[in-house]
Structure formats: structure tokens, C-alpha cells
Amino acid sequence: MSMEFLDGNTILYSAAFGLMLIGIGGIVISNHLMRIIFGIALLEAGANLLLLLSTYHEGASAPIIVDGIIPAMMADPVPQALVLTAIVIGVGILALALSLAIRVQRAYGTLDMREVRLRLEQEICDEAGIEMPSSSEKPAEVIKTPVNSVVQQESGS
């Protein structure tokens, strides 16, 4: 590790950790589902970069033999394969999340996760035939929430 403050390694690692931090921040602060999904995507992207950096060192070439010439130092192919796998898994789960989001919005008329939680609680209690325990937020207001207020709701959080 060189003594310089901003060497190549530090820049790349700060990108990976930065993406992860921003993603976690988005998940923690936001209530809107789309924003949370964006946050998870950023967190995943940061983790992928971190994995790829794990054995990176300058001066290596890509792990491919071109025209029969074997380079002196090749990059580690294992993290590359892992990240390839992780990216594809990520997109599968992303598609699933978006499909579920469409259905949940159709049913509950909102994507604010606090409201979704309350509506879900309400539905479970209704099905079980019990009173919903009085919580800090009144569920009665949630039911009245019109479908189109999603965007405004989100900005007010």
C-alpha cells in the first residue's frame, strides 16, 4: 500500500463503500418502496464492486488468452465469475420486487411502506377476527388515502 492518501486502491474502495453507504442510507431514511428498491440496488452494486476489488492489483491483464499469448499476470477470474452470478441474481430479484410492487399498489393503493405495513396488519387482524391493537398511527386514516397521493406522500416523509 503506497503512502499517498489518494492512491488508486483507495479511490476504488471508497467507490464501493460509498455506494453501499448511500444504499443503506436510502433504505433507512426512505419509506417509499421504489426508493428502497433503488437503495438495495445501490447496496448490491457496492457489494459487487467490493467483491471484484478483493484481489485486484494494478498491472494485471484481463483473464483471457488472446491469440495464444498468455499474459504474465492475469486478474483473478473467480471474483469476476462471482459478480457475474450476483448481477444476474440481482436482476431476477429486482423483477420479482417490481411485480410484487405492482400487485401491492393495486391492492392497497400505496407504496409507502409504513402504510403498507399498517394495511397488512389490518388485513391480518380482519382475517383473524380480532381488533387491531391501537398503535401510534391511526389505521382509519390509511384506508382513506387516495390512490393518487403516492407521490405527494413520499415527498412528505
Binding site: L50, V78, I124, E127, A128
Partner: protein, 487 residues
Amino acid sequence: MNLLVLMIALPLLAAFLLSIIDRASSFAARVIGPLVLLATAAIGLSVWSQLGDAPQAVQWGGFQAPLGITLYADQFGLLFALAMTIGTLLLWPRSTGNQLRSSSLALLLAGTGSGLALSGDLFNIYVFYELMTVVSYGLIASRGTSGSFASTLRYLVISGFGAALALAGIALVYQATGTLNLAQLAQVAPEKLNNLQGFAAFVLMLVGFGVKAELFPVNMWVPEVYATASSRVSALLAGVVSKLALLIIMRLLILVFHQPEALTVLLVLGILGVATGELAAWRARDLNRMLAFSSIGQLGVMFIALSIPGNAGIFAALAVAVHHLFLKPAMFLLAARWGGSIRRLCGAAKTSPVAAGLFVLLSLSLIGVPPLPGFWAKLLVIMPLLTLDQPLYYFAVFIILAAASLEANYLFRVVMKLYDKQPTAVPHKAHATADLATAVFLGGGLIAAVFMLVPLADRLDSIAAQATDVSTYIQTVAPQSLEGDVQ
């Protein structure tokens, strides 16, 4: 060549081909799933019988470890692989909607669970775990109600968060060691992972894999999912799938992460899990969520057991896990008809006396009344905790005992309602025969355990001993040294 890989490959193959088989004959499509699982269970049992004291290692694709991916079969892993296969068979989902999809998902769950239990490669475990998570989403959402979609979505958000953290943990491990093979990690961990980076990797992976194991801060999904999914799916998730996630954490703890701080983290999270889970279960007004919260509490006890250093901790955690493996699915199956408000259960024992009797038995074992197995399992946790002679461990004992009295209180409330003389306005429906038969079978297993306590304990002890035998693990896999190759 080893037939063990078929435990994983055959269910996947059948799941891929199920919709094509259905075009030819819908009858074949219905029977092929259970048949495949029977075959894989037979394979698993035959390997189990040959296993004895010598675990087996299989290299996928025949590549030398650590270049390829290892499949490691010891009694510990095989026990849970078999539990997954047989559990899926017993709790075969019977969807009202699309049976074909449910069958595919069940097959995938069985294959994935077996793979997860047997895998000996860190990233392979991650991929198996992700697949199992996606399959669980499908099983939960297959009920088709808006509640099941919403709970799946919330589960997905928590799981996605955890999975990304686990991936970052894997990156840290690979950065420090340059390998993903668990056997090789076991070799180099004392030197390379016994530091801050190793601890960070452990915490990241604990949170990631803890989502399914209902670990304390990432278990918000539990009550919602178990209340909205069908009871067979809840039984599968609470009974078997959560144990597989626990198995991963146990493997990591035994082989890779040896920091004393790791045990403290487990102890604190376990205590918090027991306390919050049991209190919430005590407050619950409907049976499904009561069982869900009590499941969080039980897994908390397992985490406390894991925090005991050495063999005794693994043995105790294994005993509680196996006990819970039999008990929770049976309880969720009974809740199939009795789900919903506990007040509505008034006089339900009259319509279904067998189910009510079974519920009493299961409750007694859950609380830990001797001579039922639940008592011995809890004793195995408490005894070593007392010998450790540290304030936090004494506190854990106190929490476990307090939780038992809470459990007694809320389960007694349900039993009182069941045998209440005053019937409610709503007539009770009897349990479906298949549900009741499975629950009776599982309950019968508990009673049988009472009469075979000593051989059972010996067997679990030897399984735990094999699981904690790191040197055998390394010798069996025999990863080639990295230092020798690169010059």
C-alpha cells in the same frame, strides 16, 4: 462419482420439466414431484447408512478443491438435508390455485435445502441461500391474497438488504484469504481472519443469513409472513428452512470465525430474540402470530446455545433445533383450522379431540415440562450456561426460564379456550385428514423420543462431535495449498 449430487440435481431437473410433463399427462405431473423426493430421500438415507464416522466430500465437476466447489456430507449436514427432503414430502403444498407452480416450488425448495445443508463453499452457500429465499417468496405468495403479496414484498426488502450485506461479507473474507472453500478457510482463518476485518465479515454474514434464521433485528417479516402464508408453507418455513439458515451460521462459527466477540454478539442477539419474541407471543391475540413469535423465541434460544464455546454449545443448539423441527410444523398444521382469534377457539376440543390433545402435548413440550423432549433440550442449553460462570450467561439462563413461564402462560390460555365448555357462535371445522395425520405423525415422533432419550442423545452428541471436528473436515476435503502453486 457420488450419487449425493442427485439429491440436488434431480429435484431441479424435475422442477424444470414439470410444466412440459404436464402437457403430456397431468396425472404424471402430479405424482412425479413426490416420487422424485422419495428417490432423493432414499439416496440420502443410503449415503447416511454408509457414512458412519467418515464424512464424504464430493467435488462438483471433479475439480480439485479449492478450485472447484465442494459438497461435504457429514451426519450433521445430511441430517438437515434429509429433514428438508422428508419435510417437504410431508408438508407437500396443496395450493388452491396453480398446483403445478406449487409443486415446482416445493421440488426446488427440497433440492435447494439439501444443497445448502451439504455445500462446502462460501459463495455456493450464498447462491443456494438466495435460491431458497426466492422459492420461499413464491410459496408465500402462492396463496394469492393481497396480504400474502404485501408480506412477501416486505420479506423481500429485508432479505434483499441482508443478502447484499452477506455478499459484502464474502468479499471481505475473499480479500483476506483468497479462498472460498470452507475447509481451506478453516485452515487459514486463525491466521488471517482473527482480526477486525474477520469480525466485520462475520457480522455482515450473520445479518445476511440471520434473516431466514429469524435473528433478532432482521425478523420483522416473521409474524406477517406466517400469518398470511398457507399453514403448510408456514410449517415448512418455521420448521425446516429456518434451521437450514441456522446450520449455515453454525458451520461458519465452527470452521471460520473463532473470535470471542462473535459469541458475545450471538449471545446478546439471542437474548434479545427470546425476550422480544416471547413477549410479543404473549401479547398476540391470534394463534398464527402467537406461534410465529414463539418461533422467534425458540430460535433465540438456539442462538444463545450457539454462544456457548465448544462442543457443548453445538450439541445443545442441535438438540433444540431438532426438537423445534418436529414441534413447530405440527403446531402450524393444527393452526390451519384454528388460525385466527384465540377467542374463537372456545370449545374446539369437542369437534376435534385428537387435535386438541395433540396441541396440549406439543405445548407441554414447547414449555419444557419433563419428561418431554423439550425439557431435556432446554436443560442441555441451561447446564453449560451455568458452568460458564459469567454475569451475561447467568442473565441468559434467567431469560430462558422467564420465557418458559411466559410460554406456559400464553399456551395455557389457548388450551383453556380449547376445552372451554361454552361453545362459540361460529361452528368449528374439523382438520383436514392429511394435516391431522402429519401432525399426529410428528407428535408421535416427540413421544417416541421420550422412550429413546439416551440413544437419541448419544446420536445427537456424535453428530455434534462430527460437526465440530475441524481437522476431519480439512482432511476429507483436502484442499491443495495455494502457496505451492503460485510462483
